[in-house]
Symmetry: C2
C-alpha cells in the first residue's frame, strides 16, 4: 500500500481525529510507515463530516488521511479492544489526541500499555499537554493561537485581531509530535526502551515564536503585530504595482543599490534617507511611497520579470490558484494528484522532505473509506 | 555540555546561518545531539549582528543557538577545510543552508562528501530546494510566505497584505529538515546507508496549507483570507469585552447551548438564527453583535473565569508578556532561563516535545561566543 521510505516496516496504530494527530501520522505515512487508522464505528473520524465535499467524500479528511488504512473499532467494546490489542502486539507506535485522561479511563493509557508492550512508543497530542493546570481544558486551533502569542504578532497594529490563515496551532503540534516519535524510534534502537511523547498545541506555538520572547525580555515591551513588514530590514514588504502587490526584500545595502539601478533610479541609493539599512528603516514610509510611485505604471508580472532578472529577491503574493499553477511547485512534486478515481482532478500536498535514497512521488495514495481495510488488517494481525 | 536525549551520541556539523538551519539544529541539540556550529572567522553567523542586543550579545542569535558549540573556520582556506574534514570523519550529520551550488563550489557538496563519508547524512535547507527552475533564486521569509500561499489566507478580506507574525517560512523548513534528518538516522541504522535531505522553504509552506489546496480544487476558487474567524464553525472568533477581546469557540450545538446558558441568555439557543451551527454560520455577524452586547459590561478576565468554569473553550489573546507570565507555560518549562550570567533575566523557549525517558529541562545552556569551543573540538576530533 505504502511506498518505501525511512520508516518502512514501522507500524503505527493511529487513534487520532481531525487535524493535529492526523497531520502527524500523515507525515509518518509519507516517510514510509504503515499507518492503521482506528475509527469510531458508524461515523469515523469527525473530519469525515467536514467540507468541502467531492462526490460525497470529505476533501478535508482526504487531504490529511491519504495513504493510511482504516479499521472501525469501538474502544468501549471488549471485543473490539481485543482486536486493538492484536494490533498493538505488533505495533511500534501508538498516537492519540484525546483529552488527557480519556485513554486511562478506557484502560489504554501509557501506564497500562507499557506493561504489556515495552517497545511501544506512545505519543499523545493535546491542547495543553498531559500536565499542568490547564491539562483538562478543551482547545481548538484559535485557542492555541490566541494563548500562544502568535495572534498578538500577526495583523496590523491597531487593526482587528488576526489568525494565521492555516491551522498552525494544530499543524505545528503535529510536526513536533512526528519529530518526537521518530527521535524515540531512533532512541529505541539504541536503548531497547520505549517512551511517552507528550506534545501540546500551546507549547508548540511557543516553540514557533522566533525571537519574540527574547525581544520582550530585552525591552520589557511585548512586540507589536508586524503587519507585512520586517521589524529591522527595509525594503522588506509588499509594494503596490498597477494590478496588485509585489514583495521586494533587500537584506543589505548592495542589494538595495542593485534595486535602485534596476528601477532606473540610482539616485535612491545615495539619497540621505535611503543610503543604508538603518536610514531606510527610519524612513520606511517615505521609501514605500517612493517605490510605489515607480511601480505604479506597470503590472506585477512586469516587475517580477525585471527584478528577478537582476537577482533582486521578489515575489508575487500568490493565491492558492497561483500556487497550484507554479512551475517550481510542480517540479518539486509539492501539489500532486491522488490515486482515487472518484476524485479525478483533485490534488493534494506532497511531502516537503526530499530524500536521495527514496523516490519522491508524483502522485499520492487515496484516503481509506471507513473500515475499508478491516479484512487485511485482521489477517495481518492474527489472534494469538 | 548537552543533556541526554534520544539523539545522545549523534554529532552534527552545522554550517547554517540565521534562522531555518539554526532552528533545525537547535531542535537536534534539544533532542541530545552534539551540535558543532562552524562559523565564518571574524564575524560568525550573520545573525550575531541582529538585535535585540543585551550586554553586547545578540538576543536573536542566542535564542536560536543556545546549547551548541562554536568553531570559526574559513571554508575557503585549505588548512581550515582540513579541520572541517577532521570533524566530518566522526560526524553523523552535516546541515547547511547555503544557496544551492555553494557547497559544490567549495568542494564540499553531497556528491563529493558521500565518497569519503558513506555514513554522513547531508541535509540542505534552501529557499526553493536543490532542484527546479527557481533553485538558484534568493529567498527571505516573506518571499516564501508570499509565494507559498499562506499570506493569501492571512489577514482580512479587502485589507492590506499580512505576513504571519513569526518567520514561519524559516521555522517550518527548519522543522521539516529536523524530521528528515532524524528519519534518515533511523534509516541508516537499518540499511547502513546515508542520504541527502533536501528541504525548501517554499515546499514547507505548501506542506502547511491545511485544506486550502483541496478547497481550491473542489470549488475552482482560491480561499480568501480568514480574518480571525473559522470558515465553517460559529461562534469561533474573538469577541470584544469591556477591556479587550476574548476568543470563544463552540465546535458543536451542545457547547453553544452551554454558552447561552452561561451568558444567562438561554433564549439564544432556540433563536431561529442561532439554533444550529449552519444557521449560526449564516448569521455570523448578528451572532457577533449579540455576543458582544452581552460581553460589553465586563472585562476579559471576568468572562474568562465564568466561561472556563463552565467548560466553554475560550482564551485571551495573549501578548508576549502574558505568554511569559502564564502558569501553564511555566508548568511545562516552555519559557525558561538561560545558563548565562551575562544574560541574567533573559528567558528563551524550551522544547515542545516532552519525553518520559528524559528529564524536561527547566533551564537551557548558553549560546557560544564565536570560536569559543575551538580547543575542545580540536582535541575531540584529532588529526589522523
Amino acid at each position: 500500500m505504502n511506498m518505501a521510505g525511512p520508516l518502512s516496516g514501522i507500524v503505527v496504530v493511529d487513534l487520532t481525529r481531525v487535524l493535529a494527530g492526523p497531520f502527524c501520522t500523515l507525515l509518518l505515512a509519507d516517510l514510509g510507515a504503515r499507518v492503521i487508522k482506528v475509527e469510531q464505528p458508524g461515523k469515523g473520524d469527525d473530519s469525515r463530516a467536514y467540507g468541502p465535499f467531492i462526490n460525497g467524500k470529505s476533501g478535508y479528511f482526504v487531504a490529511q488521511n491519504r495513504g493510511k488504512e482504516s479499521i472501525a473499532l469501538d474502544l468501549k467494546s471488549a471485543e473490539d479492544v481485543a482486536i486493538l490489542h492484536r494490533l498493538l502486539r505488533k505495533a511500534d507506535v501508538l498516537v492519540e489526541n484525546f483529552r488527557p485522561g480519556t485513554m486511562d479511563r478506557l484502560g489504554l493509557g501509557w501506564r497500562a500499555l507499557r506493561e504489556h508492550y515495552p517497545r511501544l512508543i506512545y505519543a499523545a497530542t493535546s491542547g495543553f499537554g498531559q500536565t499542568g493546570p490547564y491539562a483538562q481544558r478543551p482547545a481548538y486551533d484559535i485557542i492555541a493561537q490566541a494563548m500562544g502569542g502568535i495572534m498578538s504578532l500577526t495583523g496590523h497594529d491597531g487593526g482587528p485581531p488576526t489568525r494565521v490563515g492555516s491551522s498552525i496551532g494544530h499543524l505545528g503540534a503535529g510536526l513536533f509530535t512526528a519529530l518526537g516519535i521518530v527521535a524515540a524510534l531512533h532512541d529505541r534502537t539504541r536503548t531497547g526502551k520505549s517512551m511517552l511523547i507528550d506534545v501540546a498545541m500551546l507549547d508548540s506555538q511557543i516553540g514557533l515564536l522566533e525571537n519574540a520572547i527574547i525581544r520582550y525580555c530585552a525591552s520589557g515591551q511585548s512586540p507589536k503585530p508586524v503587519g507585512a513588514r520586517h521589524s529591522s530590514i527595509a525594503p522588506f514588504e509588499p509594494y503596490r504595482a498597477r494590478n496588485g502587490h509585489i514583495v521586494i526584500a533587500c537584506g543589505n545595502d548592495d542589494l538595495f543599490r542593485r534595486l535602485a539601478a534596476c528601477l532606473q533610479r540610482p539616485d535612491l541609493a545615495i539619497d540621505p534617507r535611503f543610503s543604508d539599512n538603518a536610514r531606510r528603516s527610519d524612513h520606511v514610509l517615505a521609501l514605500k511611497e517612493t517605490i510605489e510611485e515607480i511601480l505604479r505604471p506597470h503590472d506585477v508580472e512586469h516587475w517580477l520579470s525585471v527584478l528577478s532578472d537582476a537577482g533582486i529577491p521578489c515575489a508575487p503574493i500568490n493565491d492558492v490558484a497561483h500556487v497550484c499553477a507554479d512551475p517550481q511547485v510542480a517540479a518539486r512534486n509539492m501539489i500532486v494528484p491522488l490515486e482515487d478515481e472518484s476524485l479525478a482532478g483533485i490534488r493534494i500536498a506532497g511531502l516537503p522532505i526530499k530524500m536521495s535514497a527514496y523516490p519522491d512521488r508524483d502522485r499520492r495514495s487515496a484516503a481509506p473509506d471507513l473500515d475499508a481495510d478491516r479484512a487485511r488488517i485482521l489477517a495481518d494481525f492474527p489472534d494469538r
